[in-house]
Amino acid sequence: MSAPGPGEGVRHVSLRSGVYADSVRLMQVSRDVGARDGVTAVLVAMATPLNVELAAGMGLAPDGTPSPDELLIGIRATDDDALAAAVTAVDTALAERERSRATADAQPARTIGAGLDDLDPNTAALAIVSVPGQYAALEAADAIAAGRSVLVFSDGVPVEQEVALKRAAREAGVLVMGPDCGTAIVSGVALGFANVVRPGPVGVVAASGTGAQQVSCLLDAAGVGVSHVIGVGGRDLSEAVGGLATLDALAALDADPATERVLVVSKPPAPSVAAEVARVSDGLATPVRSAALSPGTPDLTAAVEALLADMGRDVPAWPSRPGPGATAAPGAVLKGLYSGGTLADEAMLIAAPVLGDVRSNTPLRPELDLGTDLSATGHVVVDFGDDALTVGRAHPMIDPTLRLEAIARLAASGEAAVLLLDVVLGHGADPDPATALAPALREAGLPVVVALVGTEADPQGWSRQADALAAAGAAVYASNAAATRHALDLLGAV
């Protein structure tokens, strides 16, 4: 029935029996129909006393006393057409089925904690955290709380947070690799910047990413291989952290049946920490050898050679490509342009006793600091992977721009020099670094020596990269120590 009601416009009031919908559905229908043009008021509801009273208040009261199991439809509209359309819309809405699927899209985990919750608790799992450093401890703490080890790639984590995380991890029986841990190999899985290395009996504990890559690649070249490479972060062997992760990693490798020997790779540790690591190592069933880079200790290659001797294995001729034999101009200086911090340190440690002071942005002694002038004259080794140079850009192992610019600048300066570079292959690194470097090296026209850290099985292929670099005039060595010594040879310094 359509009739003028109290108030303006026309109204429709009807009752239907045998129709039931729950109140939520009906409120939804009321809302949808009420939103139509020309509709001024709608009540679609079961005719309970409460709803009949509501309808009366809206001037849409039904006649008589309806039964609560009847459906009350009350609509007011501006004109008959709008009213008829609204009544039809009510029928359509009531007949409509929900068409959506009855399943939810899985809600993505927002935190490491939630992500680990979704895993079978019996599955061995590792968390990897590469969020901005100020938030890294939050995510890492989730992993520890869930009884999982965590690799923290992020840098910029305050040292007291590192200590708190590592203490909590020790209590939970898990390991924190990092912060600022870029390299690890766990049960053959390469994490971050790591090489494709054959499985073998040597476990590596590394407070240095490129150091770990150098020794694992040499072990691969020697046909030995690694069981695991456990990164612990560059600060682990500092006084503040006290070797927490190194000691835990040593214990875990000692218990690991696949590990027969352990090599600990680091920059110079704090003396008290070095002593504690040595003390603990002596108590393990698995022999532990230290490869801590410092003045007067063996370089990384020598440490690997000593380890091979321990194992009764022959030391192979480390892979290399001889250069064109060009000698440097008289008075030439060493220019080391590195992407790996530990490799840069190693080069300086080898060169300094021969050349004298080598200046650097990561100097052996504070008074040799280059400051911001990376194009200073004289013997210089620059670490382009240093945090100060990677702000806002990718690591030089991925993005060669800065180093290519430095090579061009050096060539243009006319300073007589031997160029010493590292090129690091493996997962995460530039897929074809030689292609980017070769033209720059040709252009520079300087004697070039490259420490090419990688394996044949790496995605880039050691030989493929070595051949390309050699074709550009570089002498190429798998050993950074050998590369450095060759550069010194070219300088006529040995």
């Binding site: 939810a104 927002r110 935190t111 599955t123 955290v129 938030y135 790639f153 898990v174």
Partner: protein
């Protein structure tokens, strides 16, 4: 097996941050799950980390949530609020955090006025308003007296209160009797019909329920009913149909057996059977018992109270005792009765968010797909909401199983730290009271707490964590 088997074979990986690493791992055939990480939405990095690294936190949260899960709830008595809540004449309880008359919203004022009229402290609305404005009536949150009240939550000395006990932890909790829907005191209505109903509840219903409850050989197990409701399409906050009918079933034999006029018994049964929210006032103290069991656990970041007074939303946590962390109450989004619209709705009000605090209500939305349509949502939305809430909570309550989630337990025990990190706010189902005093209910819908509550709770917890670590 050391390091959780990490060195025994290729591990699965869960990664947060830069995606290139995950790509390299997938290329090696590793099972990698990427976290949808984003910077924390609430709190500064220092506060968040102080909490994350607080060595007490894990154990404290475990203790707190275990108490919540273990808590039981049995109905032991029905008694006048005057006796059990220690209410003197001129004290009224209200929902949410502390409130003054000046700050009170329309429906809260309406309910307070109605209570003054009901108690005979004032003869007219004007007298009641003057009395309240002069501070002649002390106002106190229900939560300060181990009580909870839906919507305005106004509880006066002459009202009868459900008395529940937690046999496991020994707690007690109280709640007034539910008046039904529409024009009711708790929605801010105070007309003659409202007062007449309250008088009948005081004079007839309350005494009958008291006698019936005391006569029951087996006390009513409110937690068991709540658990069954989730199997029957209720979520225990906006939908209490099955629970109310089960309560009717439990109470009926004892009511019928009373030596009382059959007209009164019939009226009581009709009243209970006609009120689909009758159980809410038993569900709320059940949740209150569980959450109170988690009070005062130093170092715990678990939320023990979420409550609104129509003006402010308040939160308490296990690690910060009785402190309230408040922010402006939001206005719910939902569907409206009759001609009412969004402009008629008052901001969020009621202690009933204790249900979500306990993991039911909006958190168990998946159990009651009908409720999600309050915001024009779908069944998948309901499932998604519950899925999200699992990431905010410390445990799954095995007693509160949600059938459609494969009988997974309700997401229980909101972690302030998880709210801050995910940026997801707790989802609350709620009724909507009219903005103007005297209106009554205008609709129902969904609402979230204001961020401010969690910001200030997080800062206080962090400060407490730093103090404890330094000590």
């Amino acid at each position: 097996m050391s390091l959780g088997g990490l060195l025994d074979g290729p591990p699965a990986v869960v990664a947060a941050g830069v995606e290139v690493f995950s790509g390299a791992l997938r290329a090696q055939g590793v099972d990698v799950a990427d976290v949808d990480w984003r910077p924390p939405a609430i709190g500064d990095a220092g506060d968040l980390t102080a909490l994350a690294l607080d060595p007490r936190r894990a154990a404290a949260n475990r203790t707190a949530v275990e108490r919540v899960l273990a808590a039981g709830s049995v109905l032991t008595d029905v008694r006048p609020a005057r006796e059990v809540l220690g209410l003197d004449d001129r004290t009224l309880l209200h929902s949410g955090p502390p409130l003054t008359w000046d700050a009170a919203s329309g429906p809260m004022r309406g309910a307070l006025v109605g209570a003054c009229l009901f108690e005979g402290w004032a003869a007219t609305v004007e007298e009641a308003e003057a009395l309240l404005a002069s501070g002649g009536v002390a106002l106190e949150p229900c939560h300060h007296r181990s009580a909870v009240g839906p919507m305005a939550g106004v509880t006066s000395p002459s009202m009868w209160a459900w008395c529940l006990e937690d046999p496991v932890n020994g707690g007690r909790a109280y709640c007034n009797l539910n008046e039904g829907l529409g024009k009711v005191l708790r929605m801010g209505a105070f007309g003659e019909d409202v007062l007449t109903r309250l008088a009948w509840m005081r004079d007839v219903l309350g005494p009958l329920l008291a006698r019936a409850v005391r006569s029951m050989a087996e006390p009513l197990d409110a937690k068991a009913i709540l658990a069954q409701m989730l199997q029957m399409g209720d979520e225990g906050h906006n939908r209490n149909r099955a629970g109310s009918l089960m309560t009717l079933r439990e109470l009926s034999p004892a009511l019928v057996a009373l030596d009382a006029p059959s007209d009164d018994i019939a009226a009581a049964l009709r009243f209970i059977g006609g009120n689909e929210h009758f159980f809410l006032n038993l569900g709320m103290p059940t949740a209150k018992l569980a959450m109170d069991a988690a009070r005062d656990v130093p170092g715990s970041t678990l939320v023990t109270v979420m409550a609104r007074n129509g003006t402010e939303f308040g939160v308490q946590t296990a690690g910060t005792g009785d402190r309230w962390f408040t922010g402006p109450a939001q206005t719910p989004v939902g569907l409206f009765l009759g001609d009412y619209g969004p402009d008629d709705a008052n901001p969020d009000i009621g202690d009933s968010a204790i249900m979500e605090t306990y993991g039911v209500g909006g958190f168990s939305m998946a159990a009651a797909p009908a409720i999600v349509r309050f915001v024009g949502g779908t069944v998948p939305d309901a499932l998604a909401t519950t899925e999200r809430m699992y990431q905010l909570t410390l445990a799954e309550n095995p007693a509160m199983a949600i059938p459609i989630m494969g009988f997974r337990g309700a997401p229980t025990g909101i972690d302030v730290l998880a709210v801050a990190r995910t940026g997801w706010l707790p989802q609350i189902n709620t009724g909507m009271a009219g903005r103007v005093a005297g209106t009554g209910q205008v609709g129902a819908g969904l609402v979230q707490p204001p961020r401010e509550c969690f910001e200030s709770a997080l800062a206080a917890l962090a400060q407490e964590a730093r103090a404890a670590t330094a000590a």
